[in-house]
């Protein structure tokens, strides 16, 4: 197949706006008369509010409104508003008379300036009655622990445990020559998106009856917001605030990242809307960086117990695991993360006898939510490290052991579908070739002073789309203009990944017109087609397929019209690079000629609309990483990474590689330095800011030699394309941990692996030897 537009790194369609700074983000919105809101956050991790007195704050000149649990509607709602999804917990109020974590919002102020709003916060007097703080999984699950919620199955569980059984686990272990068992633990990395949460709400009362507070028939709420899920935000605002959908308009223009976390609502959107309703003025509510930690979403901290059986030749005979995710104070995506993370352990490395249990626990800690990798980062860290350990004990090269057990065509994926192709084997093979494995691992560089070197491999697979947890749907409309240009209307958000460029490429390719002739209209719930949101690595896969289908439809209409003009059958026509030609002849005309205004005739109105309902596809990856460990300081440095990803079809190579590099940067951070720390006793947050929450920066990044494969295209995606968004953050963690073991012989089963951990482990290793 030869392509004109896809597979090329065309210039992104938002590049000029971004570079010149003219791109508009929600935080750039300034409306006449706009007020500024700030939120008061609790300094207790678990307490009931005995009283809350706002009179001094209201008396401060410039303050226009103060909201507390006493004057906002009390509606129980989902933290993340996916429609009727099993992935989520319904356990939140806009404001409650109880706080469940340190930093939970208890009041909001709107004032004529941010500074006055901030000052007013100090004038709100809250009296708390403290409750026992259970900031850890152990404390929350202890017998007799105080329930954090009165919804849910009880026992501080967010949802009933998930159980997966296949085959016969006892027989599996009985058949094993080697059984390995281990406990694994994951810390609390946060997405740390560049753009803090922000929204601007304008509640207009334009109706005739707006004097009656209860009559909302003429109201219109407009929300400018940084969200991945504009239509979900619209849905839940409408539901909780009692408005029909056509009276809520959500606008998302550019976004500075989300990484999954910006699927949730953060209390602030409701508060901002209500402050606007009360003051009858537009209100902006923007988080400080600190608030993105306090009130944001992190990855779920986790504890995993994993036991596997192996034959001497490396064949897996049994896998048993218990996974406990720490959801923090609210359920958010806890049930979904638990389901996806736990069931992921049925796959990656094939095994017939499986018994898994996944739990999700409420604690008085910050809320964990959806975050790139969605539970799989955690479980594959454990699984892949244990495979490395098995390889060591069996005397088999780890890459070969992983390859031997790699899932392949026909195997059942975690979603319950048979897998397509041999993506994982292809990734391992190509990476081994590329880095000259196993020689590169067995012939390490010799140590240099205190530095020891090692190589490791980590593997992963990840689904595009959230099926079966959510039955998804991608929608698109393509309009063809009379000059041969086209507009794609899509509801999917552009988080900054270049997704809209990829969608425009797909439309251009399918239509047979140059990329520059396609523009994208997005992010306005009043005009673009309904969209489920940008998450689950599905935008190019699902939204792309819908865009392709809509383009197919427009193309059909166009060729019909051209056929009439040329007096040939439509089947005889082909369309490429904007030229319609009759096959096998030199008769041709441009798209504009086919469509254009002819004497006395209006231009054609060609619109294609399509819906694509996907199941799921899986992308695969293998990361080969080299590290240096300083045995005197404990410092681990990643020296180079060769990531190989099988993605079906590459639409925009540069953007795809960008996803890989970004995932590796985040993954290095999560594995070695990023951890949002909470005092286990008080629940107080200890490093809510970039001074002490340590992300690797550009100068810390090693060379990355990205390889993208197209060997297992999925029949669902456009020309076989699958997702790439989440995959790159998954395999890097175990690759590093395995490389560290290769370098110093210490097996770490947790993240982040800090310098102090390294030194302590080396000391323990020495005493063992002595």
């Amino acid at each position: 197949m030869s392509f004109d537009v896809i597979g090329r790194s065309v210039k992104r369609n938002d590049v000029v706006e971004k570079i010149t700074g003219s791109a508009r983000y929600a935080g750039d919105v300034r409306l006449p008369g706009m007020l500024y809101a700030r939120t008061l956050r609790s300094n207790m991790a678990h307490a009931t509010i005995r009283s809350i007195d706002t009179s001094r704050a209201l008396a401060l000149p410039g303050v226009k409104a103060v909201l507390t649990h006493e004057n906002v509607p009390r509606v129980l709602h989902y933290g993340s508003p996916h429609p009727r999804s099993a992935s989520l917990a319904q356990d939140q109020y806009i404001l409650d008379n109880k706080v469940r974590y340190w930093g939970e919002c208890v009041a909001a102020v709107a004032a004529i300036s941010e500074e006055i709003a901030e000052e007013a916060l100090e004038l709100i007097d809250v009296v708390y009655d403290p409750l026992p703080v259970m900031a850890t999984i152990e404390a929350a699950l202890a017998a007799g622990a105080t329930p954090i919620h009165d919804v849910g199955p009880g026992g501080n569980l967010v949802a009933p445990p998930i159980k997966v059984r296949r085959g016969d686990i006892e027989r599996g272990f009985a058949e094993a020559d080697l059984v390995i068992e281990g406990e694994y633990e994951g810390g609390r990395p946060t997405p740390a998106y560049m753009e803090p949460n922000v929204c601007v709400c304008h509640w207009e009362h334009t109706g005739e009856h707006n004097s009656a507070a209860s009559d909302r028939s003429g109201d219109k709420l407009t929300v400018h917001i940084s969200t991945q899920t504009a239509f979900m935000v619209r849905g839940i605002l409408a539901e909780v605030l009692g408005l029909p959908l056509n009276q809520v308009r959500v606008i998302v223009d550019h976004m500075g990242g989300g990484f999954g976390a910006k699927q949730d609502l953060f209390q602030s959107e409701f508060l901002c809307a209500l402050l606007s309703r009360e003051t009858r003025r537009p209100v902006m509510l923007e988080y400080t960086r600190k608030e993105t930690f306090l009130g944001g979403r992190s990855r779920h901290p986790v504890k995993i117990w994993l036991k596997q059986g192996f034959k001497r030749d490396g064949t897996l005979t049994a896998r048993q695991a218990r996974v406990v995710f720490n959801s923090g104070a609210y359920g958010s995506h806890g049930p979904g993360v638990t389901a996806v993370g736990t069931t992921a352990m049925t796959s990656l490395y094939r095994c017939e006898n499986i018994e898994l249990e996944g739990m999700c626990v409420y604690t008085n800690a910050p809320i964990a939510g959806a975050f790139r990798g969605y539970g799989v980062v955690q479980t594959y860290y454990a699984l892949d490290i244990q495979m490395d350990e098995a390889a060591e004990q069996l005397g088999i090269d780890p890459a070969l052991l992983k390859r031997k057990n790699a899932v392949r065509a026909g195997d059942l994926a975690p979603s319950g579908h048979p897998l397509v192709g041999h993506g994982l084997e292809d990734c391992i093979d190509r990476g081994m070739q590329e880095v000259n494995w196993p020689k590169t691992r067995t012939h390490q560089r010799s140590s240099d002073g205190a530095r020891r070197f090692g190589w490791g491999i980590g593997c992963e697979m990840h689904g595009s789309s959230a099926y079966p947890g959510i039955k998804e749907q991608g929608n698109a409309i393509v309009k063809l203009n009379e000059d041969g240009t086209a507009v794609l209307l899509t509801g999917t958000a552009g988080l900054g990944t270049g997704a809209h460029t990829a969608l425009a490429q797909i439309v251009a390719e399918e239509l047979g017109i140059p990329f520059e002739r396609v523009s994208v209209m997005h992010g306005d719930t009043d005009t673009v087609p309904w969209d489920i949101g940008a998450f689950a690595s599905h935008t190019t896969y699902m939204g792309g397929r819908a865009a392709q289908m809509a383009a197919t439809e427009v193309k059909r209409q166009l060729l019909e019209r051209a056929a009439e003009k040329l007096e040939v059958a439509a089947e005889e026509l082909e369309l490429r690079k904007g030229i319609i030609s009759v096959r096998g002849t030199d008769i041709h005309l441009s798209v504009a000629e086919a469509l254009g205004v002819a004497r006395g005739q209006p231009a054609a109105h060609l619109v294609g609309s399509a819906t694509y309902t996907p199941t799921k596809s899986y992308s695969f990856g293998a990361h080969f990483a080299e590290v240096a460990v300083d045995v005197e300081t404990g410092h681990i440095e990643v020296l180079q990474v060769t990531p190989v990803h099988e993605v079906g079809r590459v639409i925009h190579p540069l953007a795809a590689a960008g996803q890989v590099e970004g995932g590796i940067q985040q993954g290095i951070g999560h594995t070695l330095s990023e951890n949002y720390e909470i005092d286990p006793v008080t629940g107080k947050s200890l490093n809510a800011g970039f001074v002490d929450y340590k992300m690797p920066l550009s100068m810390d990044m090693p060379p990355i030699h990205t390889i993208l494969l197209e060997t297992a295209p999925d029949p669902g995606g456009p020309w076989g394309a699958k997702g790439i968004g989440e995959d790159p953050i998954i395999a890097i963690g175990p690759a590093i941990a395995n490389a560290v073991h290769n370098a110093i012989g210490v097996r770490f089963r947790h993240y982040p692996i800090t310098p102090e951990d390294v030194l302590n482990a080396l000391r323990a290793q020495k005493t063992e030897v002595a």
Partner: protein, 288 residues
């Protein structure tokens, strides 16, 4: 709303008068990379911000083989980082400025601001102390000077009196056969606060006997400190691996670090030993 007065004095006398009038509640503004952050984050309440950048002559850098290097209060970290004389005579200081924040920060930040902020982890303090820096202080009418190592009285606290400001820092010329190193320990290559900082200045005679040693430690006590026992262990001796290891352990014994989210006290102490040893080895390797 954070309200404060703002002054732009044109002379040192004017500046001192304003500072005195606010009796300890006025803050000098140089690069502002510490001060403005502290004000915005409500870490410091100020009545008056006194911008000294309109006072002429405060950014002068001079070098003289006999008297050494002198740089004024408005000299930026970037200027020091790129200065050829600094590179030749004060490589430890150069290294500290190279690793301070980011290039953008270094273009604004002054070394004197770094000194006056008196953070225990500030990067330029250990190499300045190891190199024997002298600080010049003025109050508008008279000037006084002191050894930089005596300037710090606690975290964020200095010997400055109301009405006083720092005019310049002087560094005596380095003796021949001197090796100087600063090692900053942290997780990142840039934009990082030191968990431990070690500066060494060591001079050998022709027989490789140590004639002078200065070791200064950052981030392991309430102020930057000198490891005097280590220095004494080195001076008058031929420096070999055993003595280096001993000096490193004495430095560790001198440190009184705290535990916080960045690192535990035990880890910091251990790093003092490792880094002092490395700094000494690297400094010695530069002496032919």
């Amino acid at each position: 709303m954070i309200r404060f007065d703002y002054e732009e004095p044109r002379t040192l006398a004017e500046a001192s008068a304003v500072l005195k009038a606010h009796a300890g509640r006025a803050s000098v503004l140089a690069g502002g990379t510490d001060l403005l952050v502290e004000i915005k984050e409500h870490l410091r309440r100020v009545h008056c911000v006194v911008n000294i950048k309109r006072i002429p002559g405060l950014d002068a850098v001079t070098f003289d083989a006999a008297t050494g290097l002198r740089f004024g209060a408005l000299t930026t970290a970037r200027r020091i980082e790129l200065d050829a004389d600094v590179a030749r005579h004060h490589p430890g200081l150069r290294q500290a400025t190279r690793e301070l924040g980011s290039i953008q920060v270094r273009h604004r930040a002054t070394v004197v601001g770094n000194v006056c902020r008196a953070s225990p982890s500030a990067d330029t303090l250990p190499p300045l102390i190891a190199d024997g820096a002298v600080i010049e202080i003025g109050n508008g009418t008279s000037t006084r000077e002191m050894l930089l190592e005596d300037f710090f009285t606690g975290p964020g606290k200095t010997a400055l009196q109301p009405g006083e400001l720092v005019l310049a820092i002087r560094l005596p010329p380095a003796p021949a056969r001197t090796g100087r190193i600063y090692i900053k320990h942290g997780r990142r290559r840039a934009m990082e606060l030191a968990t431990v900082g070690v500066a060494v200045s060591i001079t050998l005679d022709e027989a490789r006997i140590c004639t002078k040693a200065r070791i200064a430690l950052g981030a392991v006590a309430a102020t930057p400190i000198r490891a005097r026992d280590s220095e004494a262990a080195l001076e008058g001796r031929v420096v070999d691996a055993t003595i280096i290891a001993h000096a490193a352990d004495l430095a560790m014994a001198a440190s009184r670090p705290i535990s916080n989210v960045r690192a535990s006290a035990a880890y910091r102490r251990e790093m003092v030993s490792v880094l002092t040893r490395r700094a000494l080895e690297q400094a010695l390797a530069t002496i032919p």
